[in-house]
Symmetry: C2
Subunit: 168 residues, 2 copies
């Protein structure tokens, strides 16, 4: 009988937790927490932000951030998102935040990065991109609480070469 | 025809990368990097280490470390591993290291933690557990280069309340 993928719950032999198994072929899906990588990028005193062109939170603002892909480091993933969403080139110089969200099994790793040039543009997943002074940031239209927390912490550690990342 | 799970490579509609798809039911497997969490735990000047009872690196020593599970934070995962592998109770007090290993799409997050009591014992995935002074650590029988790097960095930041994690 067609089960349409790994949708049956059972404990595989030698395991101690329920996993999702496909009734057609026996494939066991080992689900693991997903990593989201992003970067608070600055050019001088201004912050690089993008307006989301996709759900969830379409039309709200965030730093460039998205799912880490296979075959990259966390820093490379963060800078890839900066390029994909804001068409900017940046360099990582510290880990700002590690936010675990166990309710949805995500770990957000947000870096501090400096833009290498002042160029930017909206990528395909962004409606707009912008470089904002602190007071110009669209504070009332941020996509997630993490965005504000990461921006606040970036400001707090400005000028410090080394700092501990904040967490949740 | 039975394809035995998501083993066919194709680019799903609306995506821009090849994913593994099941030829039986069309299930798309979005593979993501996996998070490994662990902790360098100390009791006074001594370090909690376990001898692996499972492959890979069976018989070699490491700090407690393993796959992060769904529904937990990175800190909770690290402390769960401390309990599962070394039957010790500890408290996290900082993030020591974030090691990306893009060749195998893993991110290792290793915390600094203090044992709450001096009790420990080998868990089911360990042949032995031990509390070692620095010079007693089985340096020639460590499971991975990450183990030495995390131990060295713990020693380097000893006594410091806040520090940046090292990375690869």
């Amino acid at each position: 009988m067609k089960s349409s993928g790994p949708i049956l719950r059972s404990i595989p032999e030698g395991d101690d937790r329920e996993r999702l198994v496909c009734g057609d072929c026996g494939f066991v899906l080992y689900e693991n927490p997903k990593i989201i990588v992003g970067a608070v990028c600055t050019w001088g005193d201004r912050y690089l932000m993008v307006k989301r062109a996709i759900e969830p939170r379409l039309g709200y603002w965030t730093m460039p951030i998205g799912y880490m892909e296979l075959g990259e480091t966390t820093e490379q993933g963060a800078l890839r998102e900066v390029w994909e969403e804001a068409r900017a080139v940046a360099e990582v110089d510290g880990l700002l935040a590690v936010f675990s969200i166990p309710q949805i099994s995500q770990v957000h790793m947000i870096y501090r990065a400096r833009m290498v040039t002042p160029e930017f543009a909206a990528g395909p997943e962004s409606l707009e991109a912008g470089l904002f002074g602190w007071d110009e940031i669209p504070w009332d239209h941020l996509a997630y609480p993490n965005v504000r927390m990461a921006l606040d912490y970036e400001r707090q550690v400005k000028g410090r070469a080394a700092f501990a990342p904040i967490g949740l």
